[in-house]
Each structure stands twice: as structure tokens, then as C-alpha cells.
């Protein structure tokens, strides 16, 4: 039976993200497309509404990282289907920007970077997480492939710090530095170090990364209310 595209539908889509229910989200998206939903509207009124609420609730301490990370994954699954349709229609969905994020070559620490990725996504950024032990060329290629606005690099170790600077140098070499903002983070990263290698900002924790990135991207956030 075909579903009706109404406020209840969009709320259900938003709830599937908030609850991190992958299967519900994918089913609702597919059913919606079958019933003729505008994919851009499905993102904005459904998925984005849900993930924005998750961001607010996380900031307010109502929900915690596992819930945030699951919601971010659910959002991604739903958005992947809808994005394809949006592209076919020649439109583009709104986000605060696309960030390619990864842990730098020589380091396989995943958690800190993944937390930042989830929090950024929940705050309206399109996040492309390219994993751990990422070399210079892979970063550059991913930035090109995703037409990214921001490069995010992380490490928990000291020696890979040097490679962060080399990635920035490579960005200059290939003529991309002017259009890519660079944010770095991780235990040994200091403001002085970031300045030294020419990064635009340091995210000292996940929420700080959102604040810094908002500053770089000129995002002004409305005050939103957490669920009780």
C-alpha cells in the first residue's frame, strides 16, 4: 500500500534518524520515493530535521555518543539513496559544507576522529570519513572526488604530526589550498603547531571542532531546544 507524503511521514523519517533505526529509515525513504516524495524535501524535512535534533540533544547532554553515532550512520544511509535522486534531478542538497576527515598515515587510532565525524554530521556537515592510516595522496584524491570544502586530519601520535604539514604543502602544490579549509586535531596537536604547519583551525574536542568549523564556514546557528 502506497504511503501518504505528509507531515507524519516526514516526522517518521526524522524519528528513524533520531532513533538510529537504519532499516526503518531506508524503508521509509524507498516507500516515500515510490509515493513520489521530493527527495530534497525528504532530506530537509525528514533526515536533516532528525539529525539536527540529535545534534541539539547531544549538546544538551540528553543523548550520548553511541546514540549520536548511530543516528549519523542512519542519516548517511537514507541520504545516500536520496542524494542519488537529487543528483539525477540536477539539484543539490544543503549542508554547511563537505569535510573529508581521516587519521593521518602512521596512526591507526580511530575513535577520536570518528567522534568528531559523528558530531559534525549531527551539526549539519556532510562528512566523508576516509578512515585511518591515510596517506597524503588519498587525502588529496578524496577532497577532489567529493568536491570538499574542508580537510580534517587527526592523530594521537607525535611523529605523524609531520605528515599533516606535508598534506597541507601538497594542497598548495596542486593548487587546492585556497579553496580548502584545514582543521586538525588529536592529543599532541597544539595551536602553535597548527599555526606552524598553516592549518586554519584546531578542534580540541568534537564540540570545539563544530565551533571552529562554523567560524571558518560562516555558519550562524539558531538557538535550538533539546528534547526533555
Amino acid at each position: 500500500m502506497a504511503i501518504t507524503i505528509d507531515e507524519a511521514y516526514f516526522d517518521a523519517l526524522a524519528d528513524s534518524v533520531i532513533d538510529g533505526e537504519d532499516e526503518d529509515c531506508v524503508r521509509l525513504v524507498n516507500d516515500g520515493l515510490e509515493a513520489g516524495v521530493d527527495p530534497l524535501e525528504a532530506v530537509e524535512k525528514g533526515l536533516a530535521k532528525g539529525i539536527n535534533q540529535v545534534g541539539v540533544d547531544f549538546g544538551a547532554g540528553v543523548i550520548f555518543l553511541p546514540e549520536l553515532a548511530m543516528a549519523a550512520d542512519t542519516m548517511k544511509m537514507g541520504a545516500a539513496i536520496l542524494d542519488e535522486k537529487i543528483r539525477e534531478s540536477g539539484s543539490k542538497r544543503m549542508s554547511h559544507g563537505t569535510i573529508v576527515i581521516g587519521t593521518i598515515k602512521g596512526d591507526i587510532h580511530d575513535i577520536g576522529k570518528s567522534v568528531v565525524a559523528a558530531v559534525l554530521q549531527a551539526n549539519g556537515y556532510n562528512v566523508v570519513d576516509i578512515g585511518i592510516d591515510v596517506d597524503i595522496d588519498t587525502f588529496i584524491q578524496a577532497l577532489k572526488d567529493n568536491n570538499a570544502d574542508v580537510l580534517g586530519m587527526s592523530t594521537l601520535l607525535t611523529l605523524p604530526l609531520m605528515t599533516m604539514g606535508e598534506v597541507i604543502e601538497k594542497l598548495k602544490e596542486v593548487g587546492m589550498r585556497d579553496k580548502i579549509k584545514v582543521i586538525v586535531g588529536g592529543c599532541p596537536v597544539t595551536q602553535e603547531f597548527a599555526d606552524e604547519i598553516g592549518a586554519d583551525a584546531v578542534g580540541f574536542d568534537a564540540q570545539d571542532a563544530v565551533v571552529k568549523l562554523d567560524g571558518l564556514m560562516g555558519v550562524n546557528r539558531q538557538v535550538a531546544v533539546a528534547r526533555g
Binding site: 547532554g61 550520548f64 555518543l65 553511541p66 602512521g106 591507526i108 575513535i111 577520536g112 567522534v115 601520535l157 607525535t158 611523529l159 605523524p160 604530526l161 609531520m162 592529543c187 599532541p188 597544539t190 574536542d205 568534537a206
Partner: protein, 464 residues
């Protein structure tokens, strides 16, 4: 149940191993290699055989004096300093990043304090030195300023780090054979949770075993992120990873001394940071200690607090955990002088925690019961009232041994204290300053020179 669950995981799921050297070590003791030799299934027989070859105790030696020896696995509890990236500067009051001078100061401080039995690296990195050779500079300063034993966890991953540091430890011990005979460092080997045998730590494992350095075997999982979100599940995965490393180490060098190590925080579900000051962290240490006792293997661990300064939170987290660890039977607890999860060190705090450790030691003494201490003759002689024990020889003979008299903690009458007093922190600061101004390194000048020469060689090689 925990052991059986861990064995089931090792047999059915195994551990990943991306290193042919490690694969061969596992293969040699009957483990099965699958998925292009990258997945190791470990049978219970291999685990039990490996555990049987581990000694039940070993000693970390003081380098100049047997009174500095720390016996691991014999029931003694030793406390060790922790490390940090920032310091509360004792002279300026400023909070700043640590430097080479702080590495020297921290080592001298630990050397001077009698209840600090060992050292972890006195600071995390030297922010005023190049990152290449950072560990070598740090280690040289450390070895030049104390003869107490220490504990080492992989630092920067630099190319020559393993060989250089072991060489420096050997110089400090008086030579390669001297260190083999009397090891003074505990070498930490860690799994990449969940269930990956790390290539770099295999480098360290080989280096530690070849040089006769006892091992500390740890999982370092983070509950809810790289480990399960239940206390029992965390312990099961810890044992999976600890057993795997024990099998690897005992295959490479049967009979090599090792200890199980506890450093398994849960993830803070708001920040994603490790939470070391929590009850579940301390309880996990107790769980690993129980497993170690079951197998008759020594156990060590990291203490730590999550407080971002030395305050009531750091005090109660540290006191509760360290006392719990002492009761659980950990032989080597890495905690003193630092807080905020390897981020902040303070020398006055190390002074205060030197006293905290003394308190714990007094608790552990309990009540010794013998004829003299039962005091029956004295009780009969003095009472009932009027009568006082204060002028009795029995009192004079025993109170110093039986009653704890702290150096810094307040014992003043409330109203006298109200009229005027020196704050505890100020007393600690004064003592720390006195140590910094007056304490001299006990390390022989010729060893200091040899360490300087070796460091010069490292710097020339790596920095030109």
C-alpha cells in the same frame, strides 16, 4: 566463566595479525592461521601452556641499591609516577606545556620521594625539543637523574626508538648483561583493540624479550568504543587480548617474565574520551587482578583520575582506586603526580600523593597480633581510671611503629588552625621546591657521560 568466554573468542574468532613475525610466533605453538595468515585462532591448550611457562614473580631492580628493588608478584605493592603533557609550574604558577627541564625536575622529584618506588616517563613529550629523537632525549634525562626502576610504553614510533631506548637502559644498568641479570624497566606491550596484534608493539616485544626486560601485557580497550559496554564483556575482551599477547611472548621467549596489566577505561559517552577515574575502570583492574591470581601471574596497572586539576575529584578518584588496587593485589601502580588522563603533572601533587601512598601502606599493615602488641600487661597496669598510657614505656616503644604520623596532612586543633595555618598545598609546594633546590642525582657521573655520548650519537644520526 570469564576464562571460558575468553577462550571461546580466541578459538572461534581469534585475533588479527598483520605481521609475519608475529604469525610465526603463534604458528610455532599450535595456533591456526587463516585468511592469508592474518587471522590467528588460538586454542586453549596454547594459552594454558604459555601461562604455565610464565614465572609467578620477578624483580624490577634499583640500579644502585637493592632497597630500591620492586618485587612484582610477591604481594608487595609499589607506586610509580604517571606522565603528562602540561605542568602546573611550581615557580610561576603558570599552566604550560612540558619541557626538557621538567623531565629532569620530575625525575629528581620522584627520586627524592621515598614512597615513589618507580617512574613512568616523567613527562609525555619534550615540547621544546625536536619530535625526532624526543624519546631519546627524554630517556637520557630520566636515566641520568634516578636509579629507581621504571616502566615504558611506546612513545613516538620513531625509527630507532626501540633500539636506542633499550641501549640507554643498558648503559644505565652498567651494561647489556648487567641489565639482563637485573632488569630495571618494565616494558609495556599493548594490543590494538579490538583484537589486533600491533606491528609496532611486536617490535617492542622482541626488543624487550631480547634484552631481558620483563613485559607488562595490556589490552587498553575502551569500553563502548573498542570494547563491549558491559563490565563483564570488557573483562572478557581484556583477557582475550592479554592471553593472545602471553601466547605470542612465551612462544618467542619461553619463561620470559611478564605481568598482566590493567588500563581499560570505559569511553565517556559525552566526550568520547577515556574515563580513567570511574568505578568501572577500577573494577576492571580488580577483575584483571583476579584473573592474574587465578593463573598465578603478577599484575600491574595504571591508576589515574579524570579531573582536570588537582582537586577533590582527583583526590577521591585516586585514593579510592589506588586502595582498591592495593587490596586487589596489583604489584605496580602507575599513578602518582598526574591527572587528567596523561595530561597534567604537578610536583607538589606528587609530594602529596607520596603521603597518600604512605596512608595506603598503613592500611595494608592491618592489625598485627602478638603478645607484646596485645598489651595485656600494660592494660592491667594502667587502668581503671585514674591512669594514663601516655607516660608508659610500652607507649613510647610502640606508638611510632603502630600509629601513622603524617608529614603534611593536618592534625592541628581546629581553632588553632583557624587562627593561622599553612595550606596543605603550600606545605607540599615548599617541600617540592626544597627537593628541586637541593636534591642531587644519585647516578654515577661516568654513566651520565655515557648516556650523553649515546644521545649525541642519536642526535647526529637523526638530525645531522
Amino acid at each position: 566463566m570469564v576464562h571460558d568466554a575468553a577462550i571461546r573468542v580466541l578459538q572461534e574468532g581469534g585475533v588479527r595479525c598483520d605481521d609475519e613475525r608475529a604469525a610465526k610466533m603463534f604458528e610455532a605453538v599450535g595456533c591456526t592461521l587463516e585468511n592469508d595468515r592474518q587471522l590467528v585462532k588460538i586454542p586453549e591448550k596454547a594459552v594454558m601452556a604459555a601461562l604455565k611457562t610464565c614465572p609467578s614473580s620477578f624483580t624490577l631492580h634499583g640500579r644502585d641499591d637493592p632497597t630500591k628493588d620492586c618485587s612484582i608478584g610477591t604481594g608487595e605493592v609499589h607506586f610509580c609516577t604517571v606522565t603528562g603533557r602540561y605542568i602546573d609550574d611550581i615557580r610561576t604558577g603558570e599552566r604550560r606545556k612540558v619541557t626538557r627541564q621538567d623531565a629532569i625536575d620530575g625525575t629528581l622529584m620522584a627520586d627524592a620521594l621515598e614512597n615513589v618506588h618507580g617512574l613512568y616517563k616523567p613527562v609525555m613529550w619534550l615540547f621544546d625539543e625536536e619530535m625526532i629523537c624526543n624519546s631519546q632525549i627524554l630517556t637520557a634525562e630520566w636515566m641520568k637523574h634516578t636509579n629507581k626502576p621504571g616502566t615504558w610504553v611506546y612513545n613516538t614510533g620513531a625509527e630507532h626508538e626501540v633500539a636506542d631506548l633499550i641501549k640507554m637502559w643498558q648503559i644505565a644498568a652498567g651494561g647489556e648483561e648487567e641489565m639482563r641479570a637485573k632488569p630495571h624497566m618494565l616494558g609495556h606491550v599493548v594490543v590494538n583493540p579490538p583484537r589486533v596484534i600491533d606491528v609496532h608493539y611486536t617490535d617492542w616485544l622482541i626488543g624487550f624479550c631480547d634484552s631481558g626486560t620483563p613485559l607488562s601485557i595490556e589490552s587498553a580497550l575502551m569500553g563502548g568504543a573498542t570494547g563491549p559496554a558491559t563490565r563483564a564483556g570488557m573483562l572478557v575482551q581484556c583477557m582475550v587480548e592479554i592471553y593472545a599477547l602471553v601466547v605470542q611472548a612465551q612462544s618467542y621467549k619461553p619463561g620470559h617474565p611478564l605481568a598482566f596489566c590493567s588500563f581499560n577505561p570505559a569511553m565517556d559517552m559525552r566526550t568520547g574520551l577515556w574515563a580513567c577515574g570511574t568505578p568501572e575502570y577500577g573494577i576492571n583492574g580488580g577483575g584483571i587482578a583476579a584473573m592474574a591470581k587465578y593463573h598465578n601471574i603478577p599484575v600491574v596497572g595504571f591508576g589515574m583520575s579524570d579531573a582536570c586539576e588537582f582537586d577533590q575529584q582527583s583526590a577521591f578518584e585516586k585514593a579510592l582506586k589506588n586502595y582498591n588496587y592495593a587490596l586487589a593485589g596489583l604489584s605496580w601502580v602507575i599513578d602518582l603526580g598526574g591527572t587528567a588522563g596523561f595530561n597534567l603533572v604537578s610536583w607538589p601533587e606528587m609530594v602529596l600523593e607520596n603521603e597518600m601512598v604512605e596512608y595506603i601502606g598503613e592500611y595494608l599493615k592491618g592489625i598485627v597480633v602478638d603478645e607484646e602488641r596485645l598489651s595485656v600487661d600494660t592494660i592491667l597496669k594502667v587502668g581503671p581510671l585514674p591512669g594514663s598510657y601516655m607516660k608508659e614505656k610500652h607507649t613510647r616503644n610502640w606508638f611510632r611503629k603502630e600509629f601513622y604520623i603524617p608529614e603534611l596532612s593536618n592534625k592541628e586543633f581546629f581553632e588553632s588552625w583557624e587562627r593561622g595555618h599553612v595550606e596543605l598545598q603550600e606545605k607540599a609546594k615548599a617541600k617540592a621546591l626544597d627537593i628541586l633546590d637541593n636534591h642531587q642525582s644519585p647516578v654515577a657521573p661516568e654513566i651520565q657521560q655515557e648516556l650523553d655520548d649515546y644521545l649525541a650519537h642519536c642526535l647526529k644520526r637523526d638530525l645531522g
